[in-house]
């Protein structure tokens, strides 16, 4: 069984403005440490998978930057989507390329912008998922919740499966009874109390031939488009064909388009210190903080305050006095102050920047 990680780096988004910009999306930012989330995502794969087997999917505006950040990545392993079309076409495109190298090759779909505290445990979970996938399953990684998080989707765990492979795994794969949307706090608390619910990490594993078969059943139009693209791979027509066909693909997530309808979904429950780093508030989970819960970067100073996230820039200090639960971000050319529990509303600041004519900062 050969494993082909596919790192999905096509995201844009505004939840990390003013750090993130059109040219500098979240996955390019060193949000959880010293290196960009994308680089960390690729770096934590060996020895489970080599860079020669690793694919990265991104948009045309980010391709040059990705090549600079990942100089070891083979040129043909960077798949450039002509435009964003959510994850289903992305998965399909990657499956075409992987199938040419190994029809039964196992793909591990990995968002480029997540945090993993314990990479070894992460690789073990991925290996367990890969064994399931090699047997024909569509495997997901489910994270054991440690709090009633309302920012994640959940998986309701079904009947236990016999572990694939040599049976020496600490993981207990199970069927997925259903996918659950982001719950409210009461519901999330119930999930936590009842047990049997896992966070949907957005990490999926499947064989290239299996997922293309599933797409044929669930998304026949996409499958036809993929077939057209497939016929051009390796020919001089490829780039032109991709530019023509891909934008016409349905903009649908793989979760919604395929997974939630599939009968072959299995889940590997795992626990490797995962976060999707969904907003500035999440930095409190993925970064070191002081005894009072303050995350500080650069010349950031907090006096009489707790549970703040304070990111200074260059040699310009940021001093926070008498304030709790606030995010302060100096990006050099713009400053943001947002209440931590309103961190999702950063997009409103982005809208205001547009309104006052500061598109140059977006």
């Amino acid at each position: 069984m050969r494993l082909f990680p596919v790192v999905m780096a096509g995201g844009s988004g505004t939840r990390f403005w003013p750090l993130s910009r059109k040219d500098r999306p979240k996955q390019f930012l060193p949000l959880d440490g010293d290196e960009p989330l994308l680089v960390a995502t690729v770096a934590r794969l060996p020895p489970l998978a080599r860079i020669q087997s690793t694919y990265v999917v991104c948009g045309p505006n980010h391709a040059a930057a990705v090549r600079r950040m990942l100089p070891q990545l083979p040129r043909e392993n960077l798949l450039v989507e002509p435009c964003p079309r959510n994850t289903a076409p992305c998965v399909g495109l990657a499956a075409l390329h992987v199938r040419r190298r190994d029809p039964r090759g196992v793909m591990a779909m990995l968002p480029a912008d997540h945090h993993v505290a314990r990479p070894a445990a992460f690789r073990q979970a991925l290996a367990a998922g890969a064994r399931l996938a090699a047997g024909g399953a569509i495997a997901t990684i489910g994270i054991r919740p440690d709090r009633p998080e309302t920012g994640y989707g959940y998986l309701k765990v079904g009947a236990r499966l016999r572990a694939a492979g040599k049976g020496r795994s600490a993981f207990h794969p199970a069927r997925v009874e259903r996918f659950v949307e982001k719950p409210d706090l009461v519901t999330a608390s119930r999930y936590l109390a009842e047990g049997g619910y896992l966070w949907n990490s957005g990490i999926f594993l499947f064989r290239a031939d299996v997922i293309l078969e599933e797409i044929r059943g669930a998304m026949p139009v996409l499958r036809e488009q993929l077939d057209v693209i497939d016929a051009s791979i390796g020919t001089p027509r490829y780039a032109r064909t991709l530019r023509r066909v891909f934008p016409a693909a349905p903009s649908v997530s793989i979760d919604y388009g395929v997974m939630e309808k599939s009968q072959r979904i299995a889940v590997v429950p795992a626990d490797f210190g995962w976060s999707d780093v969904g907003s500035f508030a999440a930095l409190a989970e993925v970064r070191e903080h002081d005894d009072l819960g303050n995350v500080r970067q650069g010349e950031a100073v907090v006096v009489d305050g707790h549970d703040n996230v304070v990111l200074a820039h260059g040699s310009r200090p940021v001093a926070v006095v008498g304030v709790d639960g606030v995010v302060v971000v100096d990006a050099g050319d713009a400053v943001l102050v947002v209440k931590k529990d309103k961190a999702q509303d950063v997009r409103k600041a982005v809208e205001e920047m547009r309104r006052i004519g500061r598109e140059d900062l977006l």
Copy 2:
């Protein structure tokens, strides 16, 4: 009667860091509008007093900047204290200079860093105080309180005085029964409810000969030092004598050293939109704000927030989202976020800057 305003611009202080610095004290900042508080203080005096009759007292490090800001001020009207010695020696030094021009000249001691919303009403109050002072009184301007402010000292009003001068004044001067320290909220509320208490504005008027006589009685050591300085005025020895004698003067406020012991204190109750602009929180009183109480300067944006003070710098926007009652100041080379009701604690941020070795920002 000739009036000689004496603008006291010797203050330093850290309550407006990071806007204020050693070289750029509060009175140099345009905190309430377009011009520095010092410039506004001098500009609101005509036609009551001309610039030729106006004195400014400051420290040696600020003299060049004061001359630049007040090009019309006669060179000999800038009195440079060799070192800060609080207000009693400052008043004494100014009195020596004024007495040489007119022994019965009335001095109006004016802090350089206050806000006045209604300059015409201010000048009327000052004129009423000057009439009292011309008759030998030590006059203070008392501000009618409109809220139970705990940040100001109070004056307990005593028996009413007959108005000096032509009796056409709308002001009703009175004796001062006593000076009251900054009260707690309960006490301040009682003062407001009872009436008969005024805010101590720190604005005093007296004849030069009268205040020097009072200093002789209450602070005999200072008076001897002033006599030594006086003998050198107009001679080549003046600067050297001042540098030798002034630093030895007692560092005492005129309030404590003279006023509170004097039997000649009278107060002019007035109401001209006064604020001592004691901290960033006071900017909400002295600046325009939007319907939600947000004071904004430059490219400052507030989303879902009220009662904030947001000061942006240059072309760098500051966006505030979901936060109430916070002060955000970008000074270009440092950023401060402080809860409005903790605005007095800005000095703690200054101490932290010192601790992390950023004296260059102080």
